[in-house]
Symmetry: D2
Subunit: 406 residues, 4 copies
């Protein structure tokens, strides 16, 4: 039907599954595989991926291992945080926001090495396949995408391990049996789903958590921090200027220690089913609340309410994989326009799983003590204006009560 | 200009301010005053209001003291909670939602006693004047509304107390000096604002809190509870069926004990200024999260996302006082339509200021383990469908990349 | 993979394509075919479909020919019109709104005859396949759907005709060659697309139009009509009460005569491509404007603006085939709630392709000459209230200009 | 209460009303008046305003007469048209969009001449007072605004004329009696309201129209034109490049000749009442449809639908006077982002009041004949993908039908 594939760039973690995919692609498509391994702050050693790829015959110059942490936070996480994005009211979109960046790099590498296809290890039931592929097609309409999990017959763990052993792919001990759940991690969050998490009535077992202590084990004393913002983005922690990724990493440490950012969620996948997941977003949870805190005194009501109304759509677009779609970019243009003056300092209290904004100040503040104070001598606000304001706001409601009088 | 006022129904708390208003109305308008005191669960004795009103010459049959707690929770709080309403992302609207009910009762009483006006004690800078008056006008387009704080010259505390003393109105000791902040309370929440809270950089002093213990003083062990829902509304706590107001009161006790529902907020008032407030919504915070929890497994994605998109507007309408406006009723019709099957049980963990949904189950569940499981033999979901799904979702993005090719 | 299909209900027009499908289904699936032919006001004889079906061996009791015109207008067209639905600002959704009704009947018949599948003749590139199938699955999650155009190899006209001739299916002369465009028709509209219409720069040839005269050939004198509404629905034309379908048919005659309701459109299909179509919606165009006219005096601003904001989403849902989805029903609940008092008479001028609302009156009018008049002695509106109204609306804008002053 | 006003800039038309205001301001406020007369294409001689102002003692250097036509169309009309803005589904906002520009210039002049106030001649019942003043306050939070119609007692025509005569202000003959309606005009439209138009059941008398011929008197032959767009804005008519104001003026001539752009509307004013107006927007009506036409082939569905959903809010903001509010600017940023590639040519037919898009082409077209054609050999679109697309879109609807199965 279509031309044979000659060279494919694979999103390669170095783990068992993507190693099997690497081999399977070489065999099935009789093509050259280029590997791309991204450091998004998932906290794993990446160099072993190089050795494995070489072992499977990938050319050294075709092994890409990139540290994308700063780009990830600066160009993806922070813009999303400007929108106060929450999917279904609760989820900070930690997995969703990483996918477009990986696809962007896959497509860039494909252009560099002259590949005609990209491949990923996401399954056929999840959102990630959609996110990877929509981004890939948006950035290169002619690219081919291979999703082995939708094609092959290695759909059981047994079959996968048999294939690995048959092809000298090392199988780590803990991958031999069934893993009790699966995870994804990056600098923003760790997600877990499957197996032991599948009954939404059962509490998430403690051993599933990896990025945060149990709130019950967090320090008995609260910790207070400050976060500084410029143009809607975090720039300093406790007065110390930090790059985006460094700042998020530091907040992650604080969040971990205080048991912050655990979320047990049943969510609606784009592919049409509900799934239950557990998310840990320690630093992101602190950051998101702090951003709301600084907006409270620097954002006008009209801008703030418009943002709140646009947010669910914006979050849905990111969740569904439409980061590179025109409508997401339009919403981003509107959101970014609102952030020009979002600057200042937020003070937060961290305690046993909780984050509390306890103070905020800004050189750009719109909060006016002079206007709000009960006994206002300055005349900045004339209380009698309220009578007219109410009267005209009420007019249409009163006319409703007189309907038909003409 | 307009006809003289003969009889006015006053929203009367029995406190100093509304007692002064009572007297001032009698003097200024030379009219008969009818008092209405509502029990909305604010936790104060109401009978003293009767004695005071009588002392100031109100006719016994013109003193209304009504227990509105069940109506408040059943017809106002619960419908609002069905919408997951949060103003500016955080505020559970505890003050806003009580105002329309008070106005409704004021207008009913005005009809009963043949009054031509109603009066309230809200100031000219806040939202409450708007909420009272919009509701009053919506329910009776011909009613007159008197807002003494916008009319009189008793705008300083000194003048007010002088007036009280000149008219034999008892002045409680703690009202003599300046109160360090002002509060409003009902079964859903307590709000505090003004004076010591006016600098949004200063942490809210501990003595301002009255409805919750400090999370640091909450029990060291978490408590687990279950909440049952029917048609979107809470019906039972820990398996015990309860009326709406009883349920909310019980949740308030749990929230108080575990330090749940404190919020320090700078918000945008409808009258155009920013103000800083502190809210305690102990039971409401638990309830709101539980409602989201049960919706997660019983609400379809289309319904859930539409609700999320409509919510900010809905919350704004309530905040601004448009409860009795057609557009609020339209949104309510949409929201209520979605709640038919929102039933089941949510299990929650309460710990040191935090509320965590840890389990949910429902006879109406839309969550299907069969469909979501990784290794699906039942064929409920064909992974190959995802390829076509993605391809067609990507088509327009690919065509963007080929713009101009025709 | 799945169980063999025993009995299938086919949406059968009696034309060449669905006759071929009928035969193909019998052959390919070795199953019994039940035919369903709907009168939606498309203006064709339906009885010939019976003879043809019998000829191909369909059992007499398995041939369904139903007049759905009243149900179509009453339960689908009118509810949609209450929303003032326009897809992409212009299209009155004439094709989209018929599909869910056809699917509803297919599923009902499938239940009656114990069929395990339904089939339709829509192609694999259009919206109709989506609309048919989403509706079918929503009404019966276990139904199987057969879409021959996506399965078979009769994808060229030549192959199709060869198949017909090989199976004694009569081929009308005008179907032998290539049709210069394809059409769909019902009581609301006729749509045309394909072939001669495919270049969006070329004007639609005059011979494509079938439901309206060319405006240039319309009468030289305008015609004035009145349309009466009750609860948001049309009930009488020129004072004469009519059933929904009768009313729409009468408006179609008027529209045809005056050349009203032609639309040349390039639209975005749900399946991801743009297509160019030509629509004739003579009566619907008149009706839609009249409905807006009566709403102008009977709908409150809050309700009207909320409706306008919800409309694009509502129209998109219908266009995409989500009539039976919860979110469409939620929006309908909101819209219907607003229509209670939408009653009265609209006077319209029809002239050479144009429809002009020239008058409207209602027993429920919200329009008040008393309030709007320049010289208002009645005091219904105090112009000084406007000063306060503006001042408070301006407050936040003024504070923006003083940002940072605190 | 506040400081005396020393110098005020008046929006001065040179007509009777604003001449009376000029004199009244000098008398009442004992202040110096600066006049500003704008050419917005209203089609009146402006120099007479200079003579009149001088006669009333305005200093020559304090008489501003500015041609704002290009700025009006380029910076206000065209950006609004990019949004396809229609208020309440029908109104092209011709009056609303002119007000912020007048206020902008008033505030600029106030800064130049050191004025502490601005004044306008809008009444206390309309929208224009709100639009003038919100814009003024947004651009200068400290400005004072004088609205004589809300302050003075010259509220009857008789009183006004008596004042004029008492102060040697010439009263034109046609202003002596009651004008049968009032009008406002600029390059985009003429609006008429009041008196003979106040009963919304009465047809607008023919003599009210001034910018368009009656469709019945328009040419019997249609006229075809082309309009070229770049980045969402019109740049050429019939192939001839034109500046924004020149282009709109040329379209106005075409619209006038063909009777295009008449609208009889009952609308909802921001101040809470309904009013009936008649609008003539000849060129704007043509332009608006052409803009939709070019967007049809150059705008992606995601962008187009988001624009449609944001439009009602955007139109409401302009109607209500919030041009200079942050939320309007946010929406503009989103809209403008979408217009980058909106370029090409639209062909239109003008005939007896009607405008019909009959063709559109673009170097940036997203319309692909290759993809849309029924018989597609190129394989750009695989019809089998539709099966998966539908299956996954249907999944949640099917799960609804299986609710409770788990």
């Amino acid at each position: 039907m279509s031309d044979p594939i000659k060279r494919v760039v694979l999103a390669y973690s170095g783990g068992l599954d993507t190693s099997v995919i690497l081999k399977w692609l070489q065999q099935t498509y009789n093509c050259e595989v280029v590997t791309f391994t991204a450091d998004l702050g998932q906290g794993e050693e990446l160099e072993p991926a190089r050795a494995k790829a070489e072992l499977m015959g990938v050319r050294p110059e075709h092994i890409y291992i990139d540290d994308l942490r700063e780009e990830f936070v600066r160009d993806f996480v922070f813009p999303m945080m400007r929108a106060n994005a929450l999917y279904e009211g609760l989820y900070l979109l930690g997995t969703s926001i990483a996918r477009p960046l990986i696809s962007k790099r896959l497509i860039e590498i494909a252009a560099e090495v002259g590949a005609d296809a990209v491949a990923h290890g996401a399954t056929g039931k999840g959102n990630d396949q959609v996110r990877f592929e929509l981004s890939a097609y948006a950035l290169n309409p002619d690219i081919k995408v291979i999703a082995p999990w939708r094609e092959w017959d290695l759909t059981s763990r047994t079959a996968l391990i048999a294939f690995a052993e048959a092809h000298q792919i090392p199988v780590p001990k803990d991958k031999r049996g069934e893993s009790p759940f699966s995870t994804d991690a990056n600098l923003l969050h760790t997600s877990s789903e499957g197996k032991v998490l599948e009954d939404p009535w059962d509490e998430v077992p403690d051993y599933v958590y990896s990025r945060t202590v149990n709130p019950e084990d967090a320090p008995d004393a609260p910790e207070f921090i400050t976060l500084d913002f410029e143009r809607g983005d975090g720039v300093a922690l406790n007065g110390e200027a930090m790059s985006p990724a460094t700042l998020l990493a530091a907040l992650n440490e604080l969040g971990r220690k205080h048991g912050i950012g655990r979320l047990d969620l049943v969510e609606n996948r784009f592919v049409g089913m509900k799934s239950r997941g557990m998310y840990e977003t320690p630093g992101g949870t602190i950051y998101a609340l702090a951003h709301r805190g600084i907006e409270q005194i620097t954002l006008d009501r009209g801008a703030a309410h418009l943002k709140d109304e646009l947010m669910p759509r914006y979050a849905e677009l990111i969740y569904n994989g439409f980061w590179f779609a025109p409508e997401r970019e339009m919403l981003q243009a509107a959101i970014d326009h609102s952030q020009e003056k979002v600057a200042g300092t937020v003070r937060l209290k961290l305690y046993k799983g909780g984050v509390y904004v306890v103070g905020r100040k800004s050189p750009n503040t719109l909060y006016s003590e002079k206007v709000v104070t009960f006994e206002d001598d300055a005349g900045a606000y004339d209380q009698r204006d309220a009578a007219g304001f109410i009267k005209l706001n009420a007019l249409r409601l009163r006319l409703l009560g007189r309907r038909g009088e003409g």
